[in-house]
């Protein structure tokens, strides 16, 4: 099993470190020719969604990746990654892949002083550490989307077919259960 990690900007090395700990092979996607390799799943890391969205298009990665996600490539998206997947952004007119039927609010907790750490239940995985960095949250989700986690009444984790979208950063904490859940989904694919 090989996981592709979008490595154009942001905290991709942190996801790679989790994959290494779990003994999973990965490749980095930085430019068009990287998409020629074989991979079974995709991780869209945190970072700045404006930068990532722009580079995805300019480096010619956008159309093929979107097509692969639509066709069911298992995808784990964290923070900026969630913004890339969202069908709608409540405070931005420019959307990106738009493959996940949710409405996401960017910088929903304000500036860096609004960043926080908490622990909450996540799907069937129990209580997990959650680190929110200038994070978005999900304002509304289509009924077809399964809500996995809420913090203070706001949706912060969802699953829709093969896409897992999370507004916090599981790659920054020691708990690997969200990555394991994603890898299981890839394995069962």
């Amino acid at each position: 099993m090989t996981i592709a990690v979008l490595a154009i900007q942001g905290a991709f090395a942190e996801h790679e470190a989790v994959l290494t700990r779990l003994g999973v092979d990965f490749i980095e996607l930085r430019q068009r020719r990287d998409l020629e390799q074989h991979y079974d799943g995709l991780i869209l890391p945190g970072g700045e969604s404006t930068v990532q969205g722009k580079l995805l298009r300019e480096l010619n990665l956008f159309d093929k990746l979107k097509d692969q996600i639509v066709k069911g490539l298992p995808t784990l998206a964290t923070c900026a990654g969630l913004i890339l997947l969202a069908k709608q952004l409540s405070n931005d007119t420019l959307t990106h892949f738009g493959t996940l039927p949710v409405t996401v609010k960017r910088n929903a907790y304000g500036r860096q002083l609004g960043s926080f750490y908490t622990e909450e239940d996540f799907g069937d995985l129990g209580r997990l550490p959650m680190t929110f960095i200038r994070a978005p949250y999900i304002e509304a989700a289509s009924p077809k989307v399964r809500v996995l986690a809420k913090v203070n009444g706001n949706i912060v984790g969802v699953k829709y077919i093969n896409q897992i979208g999370i507004s916090f950063h599981p790659e920054l904490n020691d708990d690997t259960s969200i990555h394991q859940m994603f890898l299981e989904m890839v394995y069962n694919q």
Binding site: G47, V51, L55
Partner: protein
């Protein structure tokens, strides 16, 4: 600042990795920078090249000007305060800046003490020429480090010197025996725990960016290949012939810094680079401010 807040602040820097932080002086420039792919902007009244040209005392920017830039973009906004000027830092925290740069580019307010950054909730980035300086700033609470370079010159030589020095000193600490770390901590004038962290992990405990004199995509690629985790570009963009195009090119260079073919393509037809000043021609070495 409690431990959780400090961790969150270090983690924001992790999100900026692989990105370019651009100096901007107006909301219009901030929008150009954001559209060009900046992962954050540094709001300041004058870019370093102009600070250098104007001379005189250089201070924190007008908060209303910084607020204008905060309103103009959705990416993180940083701003500079003078070394040791904790009151300027308090003001920047009050306007909810995302990162404070305690910067040698401004005139130092204190020639002995840096700001006790642990007293703040907002994160700080500080410049460092070598490992000892980096760890001293981290001990004071800095959540991110950058090379000092020589701002406003377009000359990358100092940034290169600083990152090479940092790499060499980190490699040395890694190679030491455990019982030699105490003496090393004494030499570097830093706590043992920080030296021990570097010894075990082979890197700084916070993200390290390159800054100072970066003017071309090739400069950015050079710094990334030398181990920087991202770059600050100051005067290099808005002092050049075509800021928008150059900014976009530097952003791409940081993402694909080892692909010379792509670098050749994005380095083409960028218009005039900033003229720059050679290191030997400079009267004022900003990197020597604050040790």
């Amino acid at each position: 600042m409690n431990e959780t807040r400090y961790t969150l602040n270090r983690e924001l820097a992790q999100m900026l990795k692989g990105g370019v932080i651009m100096d901007v002086t107006t909301p219009e420039q901030a929008k150009i920078a954001e559209a060009a792919g900046a992962c954050a902007v540094m709001a300041l009244e004058r870019i370093p090249a102009d600070i250098r040209a104007a001379g005189g005392v250089s201070r924190m920017s007008d908060p209303s000007m910084i607020r204008g830039i905060q309103a103009a973009v959705s990416i993180p906004v940083m701003a500079k305060c003078r070394i040791g000027h904790f009151a300027e830092a308090q003001i920047l925290e009050a306007i909810e800046i995302d990162y404070i740069d305690e910067s040698e580019v401004l005139s130092p307010a204190d020639d002995v003490y840096h700001i006790n950054k642990r007293q703040f909730n907002v994160p700080f980035v500080c410049g460092a020429k070598d490992l000892g300086e980096a760890l001293r700033r981290i001990n004071e609470g800095a959540a991110m480090i950058r090379t000092k370079g020589e701002p406003g010159t377009g000359d990358v030589v100092q940034a290169v010197r600083h990152i090479r020095m940092m790499n060499r000193e980190i490699a040395k600490v890694v190679s030491l025996r455990d019982d030699e770390l105490y003496q090393e901590a004494k030499l570097l004038q830093v706590p043992y725990d920080l030296v021990s962290y570097v010894h075990k992990s082979g890197k700084l405990p916070v993200v390290n960016f390159a800054a100072g004199g970066i003017a071309t995509p090739a400069d950015a690629a050079l710094m990334m290949q030398l181990g920087a985790e991202g770059v600050f570009v100051g005067s290099g963009i808005f002092k050049s012939g075509n800021p928008e195009k150059r900014a976009q090119a530097i952003v791409k260079a940081v993402t694909n810094y080892t692909d010379a073919t792509m670098l050749a393509q994005i380095s083409s037809d960028l218009g005039e680079a900033m003229v720059g000043i050679n290191e030997q021609e400079i009267a004022l070495l900003m990197a020597e401010r604050g040790k």
